[in-house]
């Protein structure tokens, strides 16, 4: 095939990039080589637009064993235990084929974790859909949820937490981010860096088919009216085979056979072999006729670019091949030596002894283009929302409308479709501020949560970026965990648009600032650009997945009220920031103004003091205040329990709605038993923490003095009816 302008364009490479390729090769590439460049140089694999900004993120810390750049991040949790975790997007495939897209998203992130020698112990997800009324939403939602469940349930890893959000910004481009967490021994972590010459390169797992060819390039382009034609590029997941592959890999990892191991994710055999060789500063030679194929007459081009799932590439120590093969035979998986490491620093591809491709590794990796894309600062709104101009509403109507909304209704109809308990170490699951997963056979546990605030990030990317890190930190604190590190999934629009690039740059600045201040480093992550359709970009949606440690798990804590007549303490200052709040969005469809600003000093002090109170067993239940403000947080603590609240009308109240629905940051609600109040106040005062005593718990009723009184069963009912109404929609 002649390499014409059209062929180059079809591979997602621009003319400048093509001429760079010619310079690097000192000749024209053939089609196979062009395909390989296309796979390695696309946004998804090369991070060419984001790299410059990602460098600013803090990635080191006392507990960090491995930061970004490997399959997943690794942190130390003591006693030779390590936690391996990462989040990744599968947005584009999930929009085209929701079930398989979401399922393979889960499969892919699990491989990233067990590749490093960790047994996966938990899955999380952050999924964003268009408005519930949009004609595609129902199908996409049901498909994605079944896909996530279908994969996780079958492989037997509990799905323990997540978030589901609706916003018209995702009407034509949904987001599906999956996160996996694994547990490894600190001295038994496996990396992708190749070492040594003439070592066997082994292909294990499923056979290669024609599915997913050019998947990574697809994920690096915007959607348009021809999106449906892209269906064949979506991979098909097989969780059963992944379970076998996981068990086989973990079995092989028990001895010292593996030099390096890499899963075949985006851009399949190409990216895995280049990655290994590039990190090891070696060459690699593959005999493609050896590749196990699912279909007849597959060409080298198809083999190198296939994104068939559940496959791994392993470089083995000499003499270990026989024993390794035995393990994969036991699990009925393919095990074929398809090549060797060389000292040529080249990727050499042979098919029946004829050289079909020959590319310097550096051309594919270190010399891949890096762009310093133009970006502009967000213009900030000067005007404040004038509350006096808004139509009057009753407190009761506002609270009930929010509790029954798509975004704030109870999501157990989703989480019940996931096995949350398999492996029998799930201490707290979805619904809690963060999930708690016990380390098997130990009395310590990790806490984990995923969070995003796309509305905040859209209004002011810098403060939005700052806020999500803090919110995540707060969620971990709220279950009594000491936050350790995060992974992030950065979902943005088209980076060639300076406004989008500006959102990206500023969000990263915000994330950096919080992570640095809170000593909460970023150890892994993923960037997903080109989320948009026909030039309409999604709201910037960075998602943060955090991990915290509970050193001794004695009495796990959550957000549900436990007793009658407890004292309710509100920690942190309430200013009544309503701009960008759920209240203004849900009740008035108003999206003006700036999001609330986080004061990092207060954030840190409040959080650390709350942790001290929890560690001293002084807190009965606790909830952080996030979207929806004080009123929604209190309702969430009451719904599903036998206890409500009696909240005193605050003195100096200027505006009821500002007080109860304002989204000021760094705040927590604590339920304190009366006999412990004195001790609690002493600790709060010692630490100079601002707090208010706002009321007490009571049986049966949720009450704001003089304003509102409702049976909590009624609130619970309202909070749980959204999905049934949604299901009843007819289109």
């Amino acid at each position: 095939m002649k390499i014409t302008k059209q062929v180059v364009e079809k591979h997602g490479l621009n003319p400048e990039e093509f001429s760079t390729i010619k310079k690097l090769l000192k000749r024209e590439p053939n089609l196979l080589e062009l395909g390989i460049f296309s796979a390695m140089w696309n946004e998804h694999c090369s991070y060419k637009s984001s790299r410059k900004h990602l460098k600013n993120l803090p990635t080191r810390g006392k507990q960090v064993i491995q930061g970004p750049g490997e399959n997943a991040g690794v942190v130390d949790i003591g006693d030779n235990d390590a936690i391996v975790f990462k989040i990744e997007s599968h947005n584009h495939p999930s929009y085209i084929e929701p079930y398989q897209g979401a399922a393979t998203g889960v499969g892919g992130i699990l491989r990233d974790v067990f590749t490093m020698g960790a047994r996966p112990i938990a899955l999380l997800n952050s999924i964003h859909f268009g408005s519930p009324e949009h004609f595609k939403t129902k199908n996409l939602l049901n498909g994605v949820v079944s896909g996530i469940g279908g994969y996780g349930n079958c492989i037997g890893i509990p799905t323990v937490a997540g978030e589901t959000k609706f916003n018209s910004t995702y009407n034509e481009n949904i987001l599906v981010n999956a996160m996996a967490i694994g547990h490894a021994k600190k001295d038994k972590i496996f990396y992708s860096k190749a070492k040594g010459l003439n070592k066997s390169v082994v292909y294990v797992g499923s056979k290669t088919g024609r599915d997913g060819i050019h998947g990574a390039s697809m994920a690096s382009a915007e959607f348009d009216e021809n999106t449906d034609e892209k269906k064949p590029t979506v991979q098909v997941g097989d969780p059963f085979t992944e379970k076998l592959l996981m068990e086989a890999c973990l079995e092989l990892m028990k001895d010292n056979s593996i030099i390096s191991i890499q899963d075949m994710g985006a851009a399949g055999l190409t990216s895995s072999s280049v990655e290994m060789a590039s990190k090891g500063e070696l060459g690699i030679e593959l005999n493609l006729e050896m590749v196990p194929c699912r279909e007849d007459k597959m060409t080298p081009y198809e083999m190198m670019l296939s994104e068939s799932q559940e496959r791994m590439l392993i470089i083995l120590e000499e003499g270990k091949e026989k024993n390794a093969k035995k393990i994969f035979d036991k699990w009925d998986l393919d095990f074929v030596i398809i090549g060797k490491t060389t000292d040529t620093n080249k990727l050499v591809l042979k098919f029946n002894n004829i050289i079909e491709g020959d590319i310097p590794i550096s051309a594919l990796a270190s010399k891949a283009p890096i762009y310093d894309r133009k970006w502009i600062k967000k213009k900030l709104p000067k005007k404040k929302v004038d509350l006096k101009k808004l139509k009057k509403i009753k407190f009761e109507d506002a609270l009930l409308k929010i509790l029954s909304s798509a975004n704030h209704s109870n999501k157990s109809w989703i989480t019940e479709q996931y096995d949350q308990m398999v492996m029998c170490d799930t201490v707290k699951k979805s619904g809690a501020d963060a999930a708690i997963i016990r380390i098997h056979n130990k009395d310590k546990a990790i806490a984990t949560s995923v969070d995003s605030s796309a509305n905040y990030c859209k209004a002011y990317p810098f403060s939005g970026g700052k806020q999500i890190v803090c919110e995540n930190w707060r969620n971990l604190i709220s279950v009594g965990a000491k936050p350790i590190a995060v992974t992030n999934c950065l979902n943005f629009g088209n980076p060639e648009n300076p406004e989008v690039m500006g959102e990206f740059a500023e969000c990263i600045q915000g994330i950096k600032e919080s992570c640095e201040f809170l000593n909460f480093p970023v150890v892994s992550g993923n960037v997903s650009f080109y989320n948009g359709t026909n030039k309409k970009n999604i709201n910037p949606t960075p998602v943060i997945g955090g991990i915290g440690l509970i050193n001794k798990l004695i009495e796990p804590i959550d957000h549900q009220f436990k007793n009658d007549k407890s004292v309710i303490i509100l920690i942190g200052k309430t200013f009544g920031h309503l701009e960008q709040s759920v209240f203004l969005e849900e009740i008035y469809d108003n999206k003006e103004g700036l999001p609330p600003e986080v004061n990092l000093t207060n954030e840190k002090n409040n959080g650390e003091c709350v942790l001290e109170l929890i560690n001293n067993s002084l807190v009965k239940s606790i909830h952080d205040i996030s979207s929806g403000g004080l009123a929604v947080a209190l309702a969430e603590m009451a719904m599903g329990t036998d206890y409500g609240v009696k909240i005193n009308k605050p003195k100096n109240l200027t505006n009821l709605f500002k007080y109860f629905f304002g989204e000021d940051q760094s705040r927590y609600i604590l339920e304190i038993e009366k006999n412990k109040l004195e001790k609690v106040e002493k600790i709060l005062k010692k630490n100079n923490i601002f707090y208010e005593n706002i009321g007490t718990t009571q049986k049966k009723y949720f009450e704001i003095q003089g304003e509102f009184k409702s049976d909590i069963k009624e609130l619970y009912k309202i909070n749980n009816q959204w999905y049934n109404n949604f299901n009843g929609f007819t289109y």
Binding site: G150, N153, G156, T241, K243, E416, Q417, M421, V422, D425
Partner: protein
């Protein structure tokens, strides 16, 4: 007491049930599906999971595997066999238990804490429970909707072979407390000799107050008597 847990490719509650058995003083062994001989065991457990991916029909392929023919022989000779979740599905596929597990009537996977009532405590598996005791257990399945023919249903009722029924917190057995559409709210059944129990809820998930409760413990300790 010696126990064996059968491990199929795709089993994923095998470790969980092994942990429970060992915690409750069983001497347990894991048995790989390609084995052709069972170790000496008083109890054989077929665990939950997705044996062979459940791609054909839940439990269908596992029901034909090498080790299962040994399990059938052992069961016929009166050895105790417990099938949990996918294990229950496998047992119906082998014919050791009659009936079938259809898709949940809402057509969705369900993972939830539910209540079940002990209908028959006169068995090796349930002796430590009280009759009509209400237990809180966890279910996690796509195909847990038990169905059988009228003749067999009559046999189940007449011979008191229904082990557990789904019920409400207060013990009401009705449509509202039926999570998956099972015939007569059936959650678990015995064979006629009561040496085989198949159940959809997971007792191995209910042995630890830190993560759930301890309502599953008595099922295992009953066997130790």
């Amino acid at each position: 007491m010696n126990s064996s847990v059968i491990v199929f490719p795709g089993s994923n509650c095998d470790r969980d049930v092994a942990v429970a058995l060992e915690k409750l003083q069983f001497k347990n062994q894991m048995v790989w599906h390609k084995e052709t001989k069972l170790p000496k065991s008083d109890l054989i457990v077929i665990p939950g999971g997705f044996s062979y991916g459940d791609y054909l029909r839940s439990g269908a392929i596992a029901g034909k595997s090498l080790i299962v023919s040994e399990v059938i022989k052992a069961a016929d000779s009166g050895r105790l066999v417990l099938g949990i979740c996918n294990g229950f599905q496998v047992l119906t596929e082998t014919g050791l238990l009659k009936g079938a597990l259809l898709r949940n009537n809402n057509l969705k996977f369900i993972n939830r804490d539910i209540n079940i009532k002990v209908l028959n405590n006169n068995s090796k598996f349930s002796g430590n429970y009280k009759k009509n005791q209400i237990l809180k257990m966890n279910i996690a399945h796509n195909e847990g909707n038990y169905f059988t023919n009228q003749e067999h249903l009559k046999e189940l009722i007449d011979e008191n072979l229904i082990a557990f029924k789904y019920c409400s917190k207060d013990g009401d057995v009705n449509e509202d407390s039926n999570p998956n559409g099972s015939l007569q709210n059936i959650a678990g059944i015995f064979n006629s000799k009561k040496n085989i129990l198949g159940m959809m809820p997971h007792p191995e998930r209910m042995i630890d107050n830190l993560i759930s409760n301890t309502d599953g413990i008595n099922l295992f300790t009953s066997l130790l008597k």
